[in-house]
């Protein structure tokens, strides 16, 4: 079920009503309702893969229980590895099997050993990368004794399958979300209103910004062999907003929806395109995944401690694995590697933690230097996104070559026949979007609070204006990009 579908518009109020109308708001009934609703939500897409979620839930719940009972180091380690193997095994089979087979076949064939390729027609279950990482973090935390294992299967199953964040995150930690399933939730008016506001903003990001940008990007990429450098640069710019609007929009809707049920999910995007360097960008982009890799991979590897070689190694590992997490394609791996290259100079000169505060904290007009830093960082991310969007690494290099050629300044008329709006219209929408995001950059999400909210007519007028924009400027519906991960 998609957040921007009529099915969800009917589903959400129904579940919301039932949830808060449960007599005495009995916790177990509420959790059961969330579990059933979540399985229904997921099953709407493909019920056959519900078994996978259930399997992953049972495995990690059981391992958690065994870990809590076991005090022997070897046994605990064994249990941890079972969880890792099961979760990574599921991910590996459904997501990476064909990639490895194809590449091994290619490698063997290139050295003269003929190997028959036997790829399988595997469908990637939506959200598998997200819920396997969530359950895995639970087991690791129990193993590390950072949290206690839960004995309530219902709470744990609801935690794993919680529908707002099941298919595209944010990837929640058990330490943060699981206790919320084990304690009574109470309805908070302000929180619920904020949730609705965040859903509205998320829909705007997805439907107006991402979907319109996607149409232009698709149009240019479909003729990438013929168009000039400036068109490809335009596509890179629009793709940056497509992926941001798409993914952060989804996160906003997920977090907002969770708020309606009395849950608090962690912020997943903190205005990343206003970052002053790449390190800051990675603290603000897909925060739940970055921190996951930081806590469960980077720090165990030694983090930024140790000699230079170790720092370089750890940086590359985390970025390459992060890239590979996104998809079984070399383009994602190169994307990760490129970000590591952008990040390394900052790490080695110890400037990676230079910008921990909000950009231009005291003024809405940034100093020129800061402005240029933002533009430079954004440009680097746009270059990296080319690999993320391209069909192959070769394709990405072709695009970059063309962008940095004479054709960057040549006029080329592209026929945007298939798009709903002219790129200039979409550009204006993006500029307005950037303005609103900039004004709200110190908050959890851009429209969380504005001074003019004190005047009711202005506040509601603003909401209606966003709705009107969604109605008028909606792009051709596209599936959420992160569903494929």
């Amino acid at each position: 079920m998609l957040f921007n579908s009529i099915e969800f518009i009917l589903f959400l109020p129904l579940v919301f009503g039932c949830y808060w109308l449960i007599p005495n708001r009995k916790l177990s009934y509420q959790n059961l309702l969330i579990l059933v609703a979540s399985y229904f939500f997921y099953g709407w897409w493909d019920w056959k893969f519900l078994g996978l979620i259930l399997f992953s839930t049972i495995v990690d719940y059981s391992i958690g229980i065994f870990l809590s009972r076991s005090h022997k180091k070897i046994a605990r380690k064994l249990l941890l590895w079972i969880s890792i193997l099961v979760n990574i095994g599921l991910l590996g089979f459904f997501k990476y099997y064909n990639f490895f087979i194809e590449n091994f076949t290619l490698a063997f064939n290139s050295i003269g050993i003929h190997v028959n390729q036997s790829s399988l027609n595997i469908i990637l279950p939506v959200g598998i990368s997200f819920y396997t990482f969530q359950t895995l973090s639970y087991t690791i935390d129990v193993y590390r004794q950072n949290i206690k294992a839960t004995h309530s299967f219902l709470s744990f199953a609801a935690f794993v399958s919680f529908f707002p964040q099941l298919v595209a995150g944010p990837i929640e930690r058990a330490s943060h979300l699981l206790p919320q399933f084990e304690n009574a939730r109470k309805f908070d008016y302000k929180n619920a209103v904020n949730g609705m506001r965040q859903i509205l903003w998320g829909l705007f990001k997805k439907i107006v910004i991402a979907d319109n940008a996607a149409e232009i990007v698709n149009q240019i990429y479909s003729q990438s062999g013929e168009v000039s450098g400036n068109s490809l640069a335009l596509a890179a710019f629009f793709f940056a907003f497509q992926i941001y609007g798409d993914f952060s929009g989804y996160s906003d809707i997920a977090i907002g929806t969770a708020r309606l049920f009395g849950f608090d999910l962690k912020q997943n995007f903190a205005f990343p395109y206003f970052s002053r360097n790449i390190a800051e960008f990675w603290r603000r982009w897909h925060i739940s995944l970055s921190t996951w890799f930081r806590d469960y991979l980077y720090i165990p590897l030694g983090g930024s401690k140790g000699n230079i070689l170790k720092k370089i190694r750890n940086t590359f590992i985390i970025f390459l694995v992060s890239g590979f997490w996104h998809g079984a394609n070399w383009t994602f791996i190169v994307w990760g590697g490129l970000n590591a290259l952008f990040f390394l100079p900052l790490l080695l000169t110890e400037k990676n933690r230079k910008y921990l505060n909000n950009v231009s904290d005291n003024s809405n007009i940034p100093p020129f230097k800061v402005f240029m830093q933002i533009i430079f960082t954004f440009s680097l991310t746009c270059i990296a996104w080319i690999f993320f969007r391209a069909d192959s690494v070769h394709h990405a290099f072709e695009i970059i070559n063309r962008i940095f050629s004479k054709s960057l300044i040549q006029y080329s008329g592209i026929d945007f026949v298939g798009t709903r709006f002219h790129p200039l219209t979409v550009l204006v929408l993006i500029c307005l979007f950037i303005l609103v995001e900039w004004l709200g950059r110190k908050q959890q999400f851009a429209i969380e609070h504005f001074r003019f909210y004190r005047i009711k007519s202005l506040k509601y007028g603003f909401y209606y204006l966003i709705l009107l924009a969604i109605f008028w400027f909606n792009g051709s519906p596209q599936e959420f990009i992160y569903f494929q991960f």
Binding site: I6, W20, F187, Y189, A192, V193, M196, I207, R420, Y460, Y463, Y464, L467, F471, W472, N474, S476, P477
Partner: protein
């Protein structure tokens, strides 16, 4: 909680009313098909592809024959003969006896573009409005608007295309286009290029489509008279159609036998003008409709088609 629900409901009431009201504003300029899903079920139908959608004018037929026809034709992508179109036609028909039906035929409407021309799961119309709209007789038709406008609801308020108008009788009028010979030639060249490079390469006669054409005629026969028409096209498009199916008439021979008459208008191709080589210009459409009406009159008076012509 109560306050939250109250405010949310109050906030959403204008939104719901606005969306509800939109349905009443949708009409002949929303898109080229919507209006056809809003009329009540009809007694007399015209079925076929865009050639008949643009070329056969019910108003002209009614003047001549005194029969109120409804043009339930779409496009070659939406309504080639097949299960989807057949089911939709049955829903649009009011099941009254004594009806009159015009079935427009041409090689494209019985061809498939997929590898196996009889594989229904690959038929091009499987996701079209004709296939996915369950209710074809509702006004406003919210199901159609939701399923087929792809969220593009602003086209209800502003014209999607200022050169087309779908009339209440189902006729799709294309107007205000440059009909100078150079512009027409440009459009014909483009159309011919498209048909040659794209459709002609892929199109194959489909026995399944032929079967559904037969089913459609057989269904109509239960309720009245059925006339088969092959509308005129420009000579260049006609040449492509002949390459695709040189023996078209013999292929549809059994259907001709079932019908109350078959009018092949391609011998008169030169008598008409076309917007793009494939579709009759509105004035020519009126002329062709008049010709069809005269012919039907002749047939119903038991004259041979050749005499009626």
């Amino acid at each position: 909680m109560k306050r939250f629900i109250k405010l949310t409901v109050l906030f959403l009431i204008p939104v719901v009313l606005f969306l509800f009201g939109l349905g009443f504003l949708a009409g002949g300029t929303t898109d080229p098909f919507y209006l056809r899903f809003t009329s009540p079920p009809q007694k007399n139908l015209i079925v076929g592809t865009s050639k008949s959608a643009q070329g056969i004018q019910p108003e002209v037929l009614e003047k001549e024959l005194g029969i109120a026809f409804y043009n339930y034709s779409f496009t070659v992508s939406h309504s080639p003969y097949g299960r989807s179109y057949f089911e939709s036609i049955k829903k649009k028909h009011n099941k009254e006896k004594g009806g009159t039906f015009i079935v427009s035929v041409d090689p494209w409407s019985i061809s498939s573009y997929c590898h196996d021309p009889n594989d229904e799961s690959q038929f091009r119309e499987r996701n079209s409005c004709v296939a996915i709209t369950e209710n074809v007789n509702a006004f406003p038709n919210y199901e159609y608007l939701y399923k087929n406008l792809d969220g593009n609801y602003r086209h209800i308020l502003i014209k999607a295309n200022d050169k087309i108008l779908l009339h209440n009788d189902g006729w799709l009028e294309v107007f205000d286009i440059d009909m100078s010979s150079e512009e027409v030639q440009k459009r014909v060249t483009k159309k011919v290029k498209n048909y040659r490079s794209k459709y002609l390469q892929q199109a194959k006669l489909s026995q399944v489509r032929l079967h559904y054409l037969e089913q459609t005629i057989s269904y109509f026969k239960e309720y009245g008279k059925v006339y088969l028409i092959r509308l005129p096209v420009s000579s260049s498009i006609y040449a492509i159609e002949n390459e695709l199916m040189p023996d078209f008439d013999s292929i549809i021979e059994p259907m001709i036998e079932m019908s109350n008459g078959y009018l092949d208008m391609t011998p008169f191709n030169r008598d008409y003008i076309y917007t793009d080589g494939n579709h009759l210009y509105s004035e020519s459409g009126a002329k062709a409709s008049q010709f069809i009406a005269d012919w039907m009159n002749g047939v119903s008076r038991n004259l041979k088609p050749s005499q009626a012509e």
